[in-house]
Each structure stands twice: as structure tokens, then as C-alpha cells.
């Protein structure tokens, strides 16, 4: 007998008390969405910036390897999106457009269409996500309502830079993935 049959058969043999699948209420919390989002990103060790602050930071940082898929900053691109993600090894900055953000935890939803290559937001040294300030949702519940069951080959709630506290619980930013996250609220 295949293991599939064996496992499903063993479960079906059991007489299990019927249960009811609970409905999820539409939880929400008060407060200014942009303020809460900004605070969440900063506690996740990212940084929310205005367009002009971002431009100032970018122009003084001297990066030469930049991929921008953002429709707001196409001119900042110095490299085309490669075909092979392995070519991202020395990428310094990736600039992407986020679909929407969640105020309660700073999570930003991205899908294949925004990412170009799935490895991009992880492999790059620094990550910039551009987000429309009118596209902020209250909690994850509203976020999942928004994406519903629409197809996303790869979807990602990204909330901050790569971080770890595995050495004596000391927080270090920049573990294996991006060393920083900047969110430009437009």
C-alpha cells in the first residue's frame, strides 16, 4: 500500500468529533495608519523615508550596482535585471514597488510581478521598497482580505531587513539577506 493511502486511511478510520470552522471577525485598531506603519518598520529595524530624504541618501551613498524595478525611480537603475539570480551576488541596491503595507507590523506585500527575480529582495545588500501611503492596511486580516485567493506564484510579506539574535540574544542586522530596508512612502 502506498504511504499516501496508508496515512489517509489511518486518519479516516478514526471517529473524530465534528467541529465548526470559526469565522474570523474584521479586527481593526484605531490610530493613524502611516504613523503606526512607520513605527512598526522602525521597530523591525527598517526605516521609513520621504521621497526627498531617500533621494538625498541615495545621491550621497555612491552605489554603482543598482537594480530599480520601481516605476517611481527608473532612472536610478545602473544594471538590467539578470536572467540568472546568481548574478545578484554583488548587487548593492534593489528598488522595488510594494503592493501595500500593514500598519500593525510593517509587513509589505510583494509578488513575482514586483520582484522580477524571487531572489532579488534577499540577495541584494540594501533593499528599498517604494509604497503609496494610501495603500496602507490596518492589520494582517485586511491584508489577506485584499489579496484573497488571487494567484501569486510567489508572495511575500516582508517586514524588515535580515536580522538575527542567535549569538547571546544580541540583535544583529544583516544576517544572510539584505542588510537594510528603507521604505519610501509616496
Amino acid at each position: 500500500m502506498s504511504s499516501r493511502k496508508k496515512i489517509l486511511g489511518a486518519i479516516r478510520e478514526l471517529i473524530l468529533e465534528p467541529k465548526v470552522l470559526p469565522d474570523i471577525p474584521n479586527f481593526s485598531s484605531p490610530g493613524n495608519l502611516a504613523e503606526r506603519f512607520t513605527q512598526s518598520i522602525s521597530s523591525n529595524k527598517g526605516e521609513v523615508m520621504t521621497k526627498s530624504d531617500f533621494k538625498k541618501w541615495f545621491s550621497t551613498s555612491g552605489f554603482s550596482k543598482v537594480i530599480s524595478l520601481s516605476r517611481h525611480f527608473p532612472e536610478l537603475r545602473t544594471l538590467p535585471l539578470p536572467e540568472d539570480p546568481h548574478d545578484l551576488e554583488t548587487l548593492e541596491v534593489a528598488i522595488l514597488d510594494g503592493q501595500f503595507g500593514i500598519a500593525e507590523n510593517g509587513a509589505i506585500w510583494l509578488e513575482d510581478t514586483q520582484l522580477g527575480l524571487r531572489a532579488l529582495p534577499f540577495a541584494t545588500e540594501h533593499l528599498v521598497i517604494v509604497l503609496d501611503r494610501n495603500k496602507l492596511e490596518d492589520t494582517l486580516h485586511q491584508g489577506y482580505d485584499k489579496i484573497a485567493v488571487a494567484h501569486s506564484g510567489f508572495g511575500l510579506f516582508l517586514a524588515g531587513p535580515s536580522k538575527t539574535a542567535d549569538i547571546e540574544q544580541s540583535l544583529v542586522i544583516g544576517a544572510q539577506g539584505a542588510k537594510s530596508l528603507r521604505v519610501v512612502l509616496m
Partner: protein, 452 residues
């Protein structure tokens, strides 16, 4: 070795065990603070518990729905009845790809199946890519905590280890410096690996996708660079609807480390063009646990580790004292189901204070199940020493005269008996426990003097 024997070993380094205790309590405290910021926290726990209960009551249907949708998405689905089959399936995929080195992100299931030694025996190099897991892998140790794998180590030990393995400066204990060295080492592995293995936090039946959560981004670094992604998933990880993730992702990281969400929450629905995703659905004792009515709901666990951080025994005895892949309170109710003989001391590694149950985001009645497992353990092999004293006590409590006489005898005896007799090896209750000073008079005598 039993839990008390292992715990004795851990407690020998009193400074380190004190640090361990305080650090985990600090994490527990962070969980408290962040959860209090969510007014609907208790409602979320109730919902999560209800959703998981519903899944377990309809598990076969949901597994089939998940499989059907995953296949529709172009994912290759395998089923493994036990750890051997799981390991064999992984090896077969690796062999098909002619892969000799694989990167793996945190997966408690693959630890449970002892995948690493199996693959290494067959000539495959396995690199654990979570920083804490890489550290313990270098030391040939298992993780001591399911969320904080290297919590039993101090930075001095990690500095010495990295000096040896990664040639970092001798004596440099700066966590940022050591993490950077690991980053360079691990990124080299990511960019070189053809196959990446991950665990699964949640599988969604209605969409056939699965979700993996990390803070380091190591799971994604691995799978998006590799040609083939193997996701190992326990059959209990299913959720019915995508929107259920709203409940579970709000609870998971807050319960685990006191952060509002993990920084990377990846939803895998179909492979990138030209690449492959495999899911291995693993039973390995889960259907047996499902059949045990009293212990069924231990399968609701989402592996947040909150019960470990809060447990007074875990904090003071360390993860290794449990000698079980999942340690702590939840491990002590899961592991006896896998091997009652080996794990017979675990249900006793608890004060039954109930703190684990109080913090569990899916409301597993952990301390009640610990108590139930104790009954199972004593049914199969009772403890002679404790059994004898219980029988003695039973006789004494039955007769008021015997109670009166033995009380005054004990008060006098404890004063005059040498410690070697009171803490005799046969008295297992005397181990690591000190008797209080015996009172001068009995309660009855005190009452007659003061209240009558």
C-alpha cells in the same frame, strides 16, 4: 539518561544556567508586552485553537484538498509514512539532481527525522543556514531550543568555534563581527547549492501554497538560488483558508520572540519557470497521536517555543536535558507518543504550574496532558520508591492515631537524623530538594494553644 540526570549536568555551570534562565524569561516578558498591545489577543488564540481543532477533525479531506491544489500549481507532492521514508525521498531527489551539497533552513521535522546524519552517510554535505543552527551543527550538537537553537551557548564559545571553523580573529567576541563572518560563509554556500531544503510553517488547503517564516531570510536565500526546493511538512501543518494566516501570523512571532511578525513570510504557490518544488507530507507518528483522544490536540502546535521560554523547568535545565528533538513542555507531551520508554521521565519534568498552557497561542492544554502522560507512564512502569512511600502515606492518613504519632515522630526524627539518612539515594524525593526545618509543634497543638 533521564531528565533529572541531564539537568544536573546543565546546572553544574551555575553562571551559565542562571543566564539561560534569565534570558528566556526576558523573551517571555517581551511576548507578554507585545501581546498586550493587541486587544483581541485572547480572541485570536481562541480562533487559532478553533481553526486547528477543525483541521484535525477533517484532516484527511484537507490533506487531499491541499495535495490537489498543490499539484495544480505544479508542485510535486510526496507522502512519507515515517522518518526513513522521508529521508529516502529526500535522498532520491538529491540523487536525481546529482547534488552533493545541500543548504537547509530551519526545520524541526528534519531534525525529528535525523535527516542530516542520513544524508551525510550517503555522501551529501548538509549546511544548516540559520545562524544558530549552523553554530550547533559546527559543534555536532542538535538545537537546544526550537526557535533559539544556540541559546545554551555563550559568545565566548561561539567566538572560539568560529576562530576554528571560519578563521575569525582569536578572542573577538563581537556578535556583529561573528555574524558577518557567518554571512560571508553562508552566502558562499547559498550561491553554490543546487538544492535547498526548508521546513513549512503553514500549508494552505484552498490554494495549495505553503508559508515559510524566517528573520534571517536564509530559507529564501537558499530556495530562490537553487534549482530545486524540497519542503518537508508534517501533515498537521494544514490550514483551511488563506485568510487563516492572518490569525496565525499575528500570533506566531509575537508568541515566539515578542516581535510583531517575522521579517520574511514567504508564500510558495508555484515554482519559478524551469525550477522544481517538492513537498514531502510526513506522518511519522502523527496519525497515532491523532488517534489518542487525550493527546490529540498537541498536534495543534505551531512551534513558537513560548512554552519553553516560560517553563521554570526548561529555563533551569536547558534544552538538552530533555534528550528529545522538541524539548520543553510541548516536547514532553509530543515525544512520549513517539517512544514512551525513552521519554518516560519527560512528563515529570514539570511543576504542572500551567504557565505553558497560559501562553500557548493555540491553547493546547499542555500541563493537563503532562499529567495524563504521567498516568500512562506509571501504568506501564511504576516507580517503586515513590510507590512504596505512597502506600505508607496511605496507611498513615487512614488512621488519625497513626497520623498523630507519626507526625511527632517525624518532627523529632528530622531534627536528629543525619543528612546521610534523610537524603539517602533510595529517597528519590530528597534529590535536589531540601526539606524545610521541621516545625516545633503540630498544627493541632498550635490550634489548641492559639484558637481554642
Amino acid at each position: 539518561m533521564t531528565h533529572p540526570e541531564n539537568a544536573t549536568e546543565f546546572l553544574k555551570d551555575s553562571q551559565k544556567s542562571k543566564w539561560h534562565d534569565e534570558t528566556l524569561w526576558f523573551v517571555r516578558d517581551k511576548r507578554d508586552k507585545v501581546s498586550k498591545g493587541i486587544p483581541e489577543w485572547e480572541q485570536l488564540r481562541e480562533l487559532a485553537s478553533g481553526i486547528k481543532d477543525y483541521v484535525l477533525a477533517n484532516l484527511a479531506d484537507y490533506l487531499e484538498e491541499f495535495e490537489r491544489n498543490a499539484i495544480k500549481n505544479g508542485i510535486i507532492v510526496h507522502w512519507a509514512a515515517d522518518s526513513e521514508e522521508h529521508n529516502r525521498l529526500v535522498l532520491e531527489i538529491l540523487q536525481q539532481q546529482n547534488c552533493k551539497a545541500v543548504v537547509k533552513s530551519k526545520s524541526i521535522l528534519t531534525e525529528e527525522c535525523h535527516l542530516n546524519p542520513y544524508l551525510e552517510k550517503h555522501g551529501v554535505e548538509v549546511v544548516d543556514t540559520d545562524l544558530g543552527e549552523r553554530i550547533v551543527q559546527f559543534l555536532n550538537q542538535p538545537p537546544s531550543h526550537i526557535v533559539l537553537p544556540a541559546i545554551h551557548l555563550k559568545k565566548r564559545e561561539i567566538s572560539e568555534l568560529f576562530h576554528e571553523k571560519l578563521h575569525t580573529e582569536k578572542g573577538n567576541e563581537d556578535p556583529a563581527y561573528l555574524t558577518q563572518a557567518a554571512r560571508i560563509h553562508l552566502r558562499e554556500k547559498f550561491f553554490g547549492a543546487k538544492v535547498a531544503i526548508t521546513g513549512v510553517n503553514f500549508g494552505i488547503a484552498e490554494t495549495g501554497e505553503f508559508v515559510v517564516c524566517t528573520n534571517e531570510g536564509n530559507a529564501d536565500m537558499g530556495v530562490h538560488l537553487a534549482q530545486v526546493h524540497i519542503a518537508c511538512m508534517g501533515i498537521e501543518k494544514i490550514l483551511p483558508r488563506r485568510k487563516d494566516l492572518g490569525v496565525f501570523l499575528r500570533l506566531l512571532a509575537r508568541s515566539a520572540t515578542g516581535q510583531p511578525i517575522t521579517n520574511y513570510n514567504s508564500h510558495f504557490r508555484n515554482p519559478s519557470p524551469g525550477k522544481e518544488i517538492h513537498i514531502i507530507l510526513v506522518d511519522n507518528g502523527r496519525t497515532a497521536q491523532l488517534a489518542r483522544e487525550k493527546f490529540r490536540n498537541s498536534l495543534k502546535c505551531i512551534r513558537c517555543g513560548a512554552c519553553m521560554n516560560t517553563c521554570p523547568i526548561y529555563r533551569r535545565s536547558g534544552g538538552f536535558s530533555y534528550n528529545s528533538t522538541v524539548p520543553g513542555p510541548i516536547g514532553s507531551i509530543l515525544s512520549p507518543g513517539l517512544d514512551l520508554k525513552k521519554h518516560s521521565s519527560l512528563p515529570f519534568a514539570s511543576t504542572l504550574c500551567g504557565s505553558c498552557t497560559d501562553v500557548c497561542p493555540v491553547k493546547i492544554n499542555i500541563h493537563e496532558q503532562l499529567y495524563e502522560w504521567r498516568q500512562e507512564v506509571t501504568k506501564t512502569h511504576g516507580e517503586f520508591a515513590k510507590g512504596l512511600s505512597m502506600k505508607l502515606a496511605n496507611g498513615i492518613f487512614k488512621s488519625p492515631l497513626a497520623y498523630k504519632i507519626s507526625g511527632s515522630m517525624m518532627r523529632n526524627a528530622l531534627k536528629s537524623l543525619p543528612n546521610s539518612l534523610i537524603y539517602h539515594p533510595l529517597n528519590i524525593w530528597g534529590k535536589n530538594r531540601n526539606l524545610p526545618d521541621p516545625p516545633k509543634e503540630s498544627f493541632q497543638q498550635w490550634y489548641q494553644k492559639n484558637r481554642s
